[in-house]
Symmetry: C2
Subunit: 206 residues, 2 copies
DNA sequence: AATATTAGAGAGTTGTACTATCCAATGCAA
DNA sequence: TTGCATTGGATAGTACAACTCTCTAATATT
């Protein structure tokens, strides 16, 4: 398969595929001459993955590159790799700062939920930013709401973990990509559940 | 309060406040002369809201404007307004197309969950996009996972609805802003719940 | 042999989110 | 009251991301 066939297969302009190649999101094809190279099914799959990450998931090209690199070649154990991957996923969180207690809201929230609090983990900073944003905007999250969301998140995590492959490399891919790819699904389901609940309540009140 | 005081209060450069003014995210102050105007607490709150939406929530300036306009002046009933607001929130979904069954995956998913399916609702398109992206990337969502996520989403929606204010204008603000502002919190909690569950499993296996 | 395609590199384009510069009109301080 | 910094408003400029186009020499196709 040459480049034009690859681009057609992925539904992308040739120029865009070349751009992804330059940016390192796609590994080069096997050269058959100075100006020819062939691509295979792996390239097609990779392009589909890239499109999924920069499309519905909403990653930038550089973030997608980082995530895919981590999946391709995990640097350390699963938890380190996952931590790094989560750190590159949006929303971007501000760096810790020098305070003795850099994430007070997140720490309080996790303690209330009875979960481990490790300021090193990137999602803690994201939680802090999200809680601060909600509070700043005038809709702070109280203990009851936190408990409701936390227990839903725990349910989901328990399910996800039950499905995690045993083989380390597959586990990394599953966890990192599952985090990125399933989040939009969850958000859409939440929005639809709101709609569904509202419609049902409206019907009941009639 | 004049502009420099407003900007200082919000922690933003004056030039940025002027930019938001131009883009219609912030209403003008009350003019006290040809080159003077005063701003009040409402402007400070509005700026905090804008920063929350374009920061942790990740909206573009134009999306934030649309959402805030809807909250300020809902055009119709709650459900129409909410639908419009959800439509402007990321992830952007492709337009329906001309197919007789434009959202097959989303329809199947909602039927499996026993929820109403209305192709007009923007989140349906988002669900379709998210399900398609996961499948294209090689990690399709099966019935069991859908059920797990769906029931978590339903739990959250039930809680959210129980807290909805009765007064229509407040209900719109609560629902629209709650959708936008609480989503990052939920995502962060899910990521942390994964971490927590993984740590616990690791500890158990030792 | 003539024509079309390709890989690879570089420059150009478009859109977003600011950021800086001007200007005339004010406010304020000495 | 006179000098000077500040303000609101408009316009222009900057920086970056994500493509998109153009070019060239080599290669494949007819």
């Amino acid at each position: 398969m040459r480049m034009s066939a690859l681009a057609a297969e992925a539904g992308l302009p040739v120029a865009t595929v070349k751009y992804y190649l330059r940016e390192g999101l796609l590994h080069a094809g096997t050269a058959t001459g100075a100006t020819q190279a062939v691509y295979d099914e792996g390239h097609v799959r990779r392009l589909r993955m890239v499109r999924a990450l920069v499309g519905p998931v909403g990653l930038s090209v550089q973030q997608a590159r980082t995530v895919l690199d981590l999946v391709d070649e995990p640097g350390g154990d699963l938890y380190t790799t996952l931590g790094r991957a989560v750190g590159t996923l949006p929303p971007a969180a501000a760096p810790p700062g020098e305070a003795s207690d850099p994430y007070p809201r997140a720490r309080a929230a996790l303690e209330a939920l009875g979960q481990v609090y490790d300021p090193e983990f990137a999602a803690v900073a994201q939680l802090e930013g999200a809680l601060a944003a909600a509070a700043d905007a005038g809709l702070p999250i109280d203990a009851e709401r936190l408990a409701a969301y936390g227990s839903a998140a725990t349910d989901i995590a328990a399910f996800d973990l039950s499905r995690m492959p045993a083989e380390p490399h597959a586990a990394v891919a599953y966890t990192v990509l599952g985090t990125a790819l399933y989040e939009p699904v969850l958000l859409a389901l939440r929005r639809l559940a709101h709609q569904d609940a509202a419609v049902r309540r409206l019907a009941r009140e009639e």
